[in-house]
Structures are given as C-alpha cells and as structure tokens.
Symmetry: C2
Subunit: 332 residues, 2 copies
C-alpha cells in the first residue's frame, strides 16, 4: 500500500476515464471510483480502471445513455457503462422525487459495475430522500442445493437521512462476492466454509473451483435466497435487464427508488427523529460494554478520514498499472 | 389437529371479532386471520383471537383509525388494532398508486399483529403493484454482542406480479420469531444454536431464558442486523412509530410502498417478462435434480389447497378456545 493525495488520484482517475469518455461522463464516474477507494472498498476503486475488471473501460464504446421518461415520477436510463447510467439515474430519481415526493428510475444495458451503491444512497440522503437501490449483476450465485449460476450477487442498499449522519446499509445478497473470490485465488487462500459450490454444485472452499464454473451461495439461508431472487426479478421486470440469465443483451439492471421526507411530514422533525433513533442504536447495551458496531458506518468513517487527511492508501500494483495506463497514453 | 370447513371458521372468526369491532372492521380482519390459518402459519391464524396473543382483541378499544392524507401519493393511518390499520393502509396504497404510479402509506399506533404481511403483498400484486412492506414490532431482538431488546422482529415482505402467480417473499429479519420461542417453551424443546441470547447477552438455547428478558438475534449476521435496524428506523421515521424502543405510545409501525407496473411500461408485457424469469427460477438445475424450493411459494400453495378443499386443519386447543369464547358470549 502507498499513500496518495486525493487530488493526484482524482487527476489520474480522470485521465484514465478520458481515454474512453467525455469530460462530463468522466467526472461523474471519477467521483464513484474515488468514493470506493476512500471508503476502503478497493474492489470498487481504481481496480475498476484496469482491463478485465468489469469496469467502465471494459465496455464497448456506445452512444450516450438514453433517458426515457415513463411517467411524471418514473424513468429508465438505457446505456453504458454502469457507473455512468447509475449516476444519471440517481440524479434523475432525486429530481423526480423532489417534484412529486416519490420516484423510481431504472437503468439497464450496461455490463460493468456501477460502483458502490452506498455512494448513490448517500447522494440521495443528502437530498433529503429515503433511498432504496438494488441491482442485478453478472450471474455468479446459485440457490442452496443448486448448480450453475442463476443470480447476480445482487446488492441492496438503503438509506435514511437524519439531522446528523445518515443511516446507510449496502449489502450483496450473496454470502461473499466476486472480488473476494478473485482475491483469495490470487493470494492462494481458501474461502470460508458454506459460502460456495463448484460446477457440480458440491460445497467447495477452493476459489478456483468457484471461478471455474462454480458459484457463490446467498447469504442468510433461505431468506437471503428470497431477497436475491426478488432483486433479480424486480430488476429484470422494472428495469428490463437480463435476469436469471438470458442470452439477451439487456445487460445488468438497477432500480433507484427515492422517497422525499417531505412526503411524510416536516423534514426537520423527521431528521431529528431519525437522529434520536440512531443514537439509541449507538448506545445500545453490549456484553463487552463497547459501543455496538453500526452497519454501514465503517466505510463512511474511512471516507471521512481520507477526506480530512486529503490522502488515501492505495494498492501498489493497481496504482502502478493505473499510472502506466495513463502515462502510456499521454506518451503515445 | 382437526379439519374445519372454511365457512365455519370464517363464521367463528367473525363472531369473535364482532365482540370488539364493527362489522366492516371484523370482515377486514377475518380475511387476514383466515389467510394465516389457510397458509399454514398458525401463529397468525385463530391463535391471534385468543387473549394475550398480541391480537386485535388484546388492544384497548379505540376510535376508528384516522387517515391523514400527507400528499397526493402518501398518507398515514393512525389507530388500532394492527390488522385493521394494515388492511386500510394496504387498500389506500393501492388506490394512491393506481392514480399516481407510486405511493407510500404508513401506519402507526397499534400494539397488536397486522397478520402475515404476504397477505397484503398478494393484495397489492393482484392490483398490478410491485409491493414493498415492512413493519417494526414488539422489541425482541438484540444486535450480535448486545443484551436487552432493541429491535422488533421487523418483517420485510415484497412482491412482483406476473402473468402467472406472483413472486412474494415475507421474512422476519430475526433468526426466529416470538411464536417459535413460545411454542418451544410450551413443548419443552430447545432452540437452534446461535439464534438467541439470555438477559445477560450470553448465547442460550433455552426458550424460557429468551422469554425471561432475553432476545433473539438477527438472521444472516451483520447484513441481517443492517436490515433489521433499517426497518426499525424507517418505520420510526416515516410512520412515526415507536422505535429502538421508546417509552412513547406511538406503537408499532408499517410502511406500505406500492409501485404500479404501469409506471414502468406495458403491464401485460411486464407480467409476461416476470413469468418467464420465475419459470427460469423454477427450472434452475439442482444437485438432486428436484425442482428448487422457491421462497414464499409453500405458504401460498397451502392456502390454494385449503381453498380448493374448502377446509383447513386447525390446532385443537386454539379451536376449542375460540368456540368457547364465541359460545360463552352468545350464551351470556
């Protein structure tokens, strides 16, 4: 790991993105990448600027994403890459819900990561919205007792604004994720028991078995499977994304639902009420008398600390590759 | 167990409910009770008509629930009992979303069960709505490492309509539920490992330890905790329910979100697309070559079978108590 100033990382990230995209699109996506890096989720940081990472530069160039307005409070964004359509859809969901209280904006057509969903949830909570975001992604998950890849790792992210910090969760509905399996394969370590199967559907702890036609299992048993299937279906139906996988070119899906606090009462009072409840979470009694771990909090803490320092720790190899991709281009 | 005709069970259920409620309110709630009984979830059936069951007749009599319209697509239902306000809120969510594409209707003020949430989800899917319902309930759950009751068992239920049967999930965000703990205590059996703690926060398999100031844990580890807290917070803020528990009299909360298929495209096409995805779930390959178990399906199958037979299997003791409560009343 090495310490890089955020301004320098932003410059390199933008330069790399500009190799494939317009200035405006690159600026949108750079913020998503930087959030991933600063929040300590390296798998959604500069790693995604390297070839073969299901990142924005892995997609074939396409036209600008197309926005189809479906009703006064719903719309669909069609196009690629994932980070760009997600960013556009997020802003549109905020705009529509600011006008009519609630909105749903879907996205489809990409085959690359949208970045960390908690980045988008935070943007929505900053605008005074309760946010519910889900996505269906590359098929990599099988039901318990199944074999072959049926479902994406299908993240679900939600957030509620408060008068203090928002409460935000962001979770894959799989017991692990593609990045962790690839990292274990690279490091030569084994997976936790009970989270993955090989191509015949037999439990395995070998990451290469999983990458070689195997699959992850859902988190949390049958309930997690229900959530994973619901997200696959909801994105397949509402966003028109490929689902449970088809051979179609409909790509991955996103559904952004925004509900303005204004639709439920006085926003300041509701924010205050949220803050009081969050404080009761934070002060709940524990066996070891240490404060309980609040889901979603650690990654936002890391981001805040990185911003305060003005720098971030990055992976040496990923950073060197990024520099070489950018320098190679400017030298050519 | 004994077999009772549904018409007879409806008559008895209505007669019991009429001891506390108007004809219209009783008819609404009877359908919820019958759904619970027919779908095989006895803990949400006639059991809830007995004293001390957190059922509708356990609540102090109150005025008719009050509907407060908050905006063109949002409203709050304030009052009790839970089944009645949930039923009113569900219908209102459907009506508002039929007009404006999306709606959110909250409920608060009750301290008794709303019944099975999949009953309400099914009603919403029948009206062409994608449904997301959550509730925060009696505090009975502690975070991992915690002690004392901080969160409800906080169910989350969702549904998507299709051209065939809807896809519906309905899950507590706790690893078990109050009914199962009470049943284990009555039967003298132990709980599964890793799902509950005693009043000091130490793991226990004794149901009486849990009932005596202990607590259940969330399902699915840290992700389940995140969902449980999110539902507690969202209901506390949007519905104005008591949360993380306060000494206030705000009661339990519900949030009904309805999104009409019409807001996302041609409803018939979307229903067809949903059906195709569900069929791919149903035909996914498995290790033992038996069809995969589809979450949420078994309870609706049982309900359909009960309706086809015209009868349902009920618990002897609960049924006898119900008969005696009804007969005792008509004889007095």
């Amino acid at each position: 790991m090495r310490t890089i100033e955020i301004s320098e990382l932003r410059r390199l990230t933008l330069a790399r993105l500009r190799q494939g995209f317009s200035k405006e699109a690159s600026e949108r996506m750079a913020e998503v990448i930087l959030f991933g890096e600063m929040s300590g989720r390296a798998s959604h940081g500069i790693q995604r600027l390297l070839p073969g990472s299901y990142g924005p530069l892995d997609e074939e160039p396409g036209p600008d994403p197309m926005i189809e307005r479906l009703s006064h409070n719903s719309a669909r964004v069609d196009g690629r890459p994932g980070m760009l359509v997600a960013s556009i859809a997020c802003d549109l969901a905020i705009d529509l819900a600011s006008e009519s209280g609630m909105s749903a904006v879907t996205a489809r057509g990409s085959r690359s990561t949208s970045g960390s969903l908690n980045y988008f949830v935070e943007r929505m909570t900053e605008a005074g919205m309760v946010a519910v975001i889900s996505a269906n992604t590359l098929a990599f998950v099988t039901p318990h007792g199944g074999k072959g890849r049926l479902l994406g790792t299908n993240p679900l992210a939600m957030g509620v604004p408060s008068s203090g910090r928002p409460f935000i969760i962001d979770m894959a509905t799989s017991a692990s994720n593609v990045g962790e399996v690839m990292a274990a394969a690279a490091a030569g370590t084994t997976l936790s028991p009970g989270i993955a199967v090989d191509s015949s559907g037999n439990e395995t702890r070998s990451p290469s078995d999983v990458l070689d036609g195997g699959a992850l299992l859902p988190f949390g048993g049958h309930k997690g499977l229900g959530l994973a299937m619901m997200i696959e279906l909801m994105n397949g139906v509402l966003a028109g994304a490929g689902a449970a996988p088809t051979g179609s070119s409909d790509g991955w899906g996103h559904v952004f639902v925004a509900m303005s606090l204004k639709a439920f009462g006085d926003p300041d009072e509701l924010r205050q009420r949220a803050q009081e409840i969050i404080e009761r979470f934070e002060s709940a009694p524990t066996v070891d008398e240490r404060p309980p771990r609040i889901p979603g909090r650690a990654s936002l803490d890391r981001r805040d600390q990185a911003l305060a320092r003005g720098s971030v720790e990055v992976d040496d190899e990923a950073f060197d590759q990024l520099v070489s991709l950018v320098d190679g281009s400017s030298a050519s």
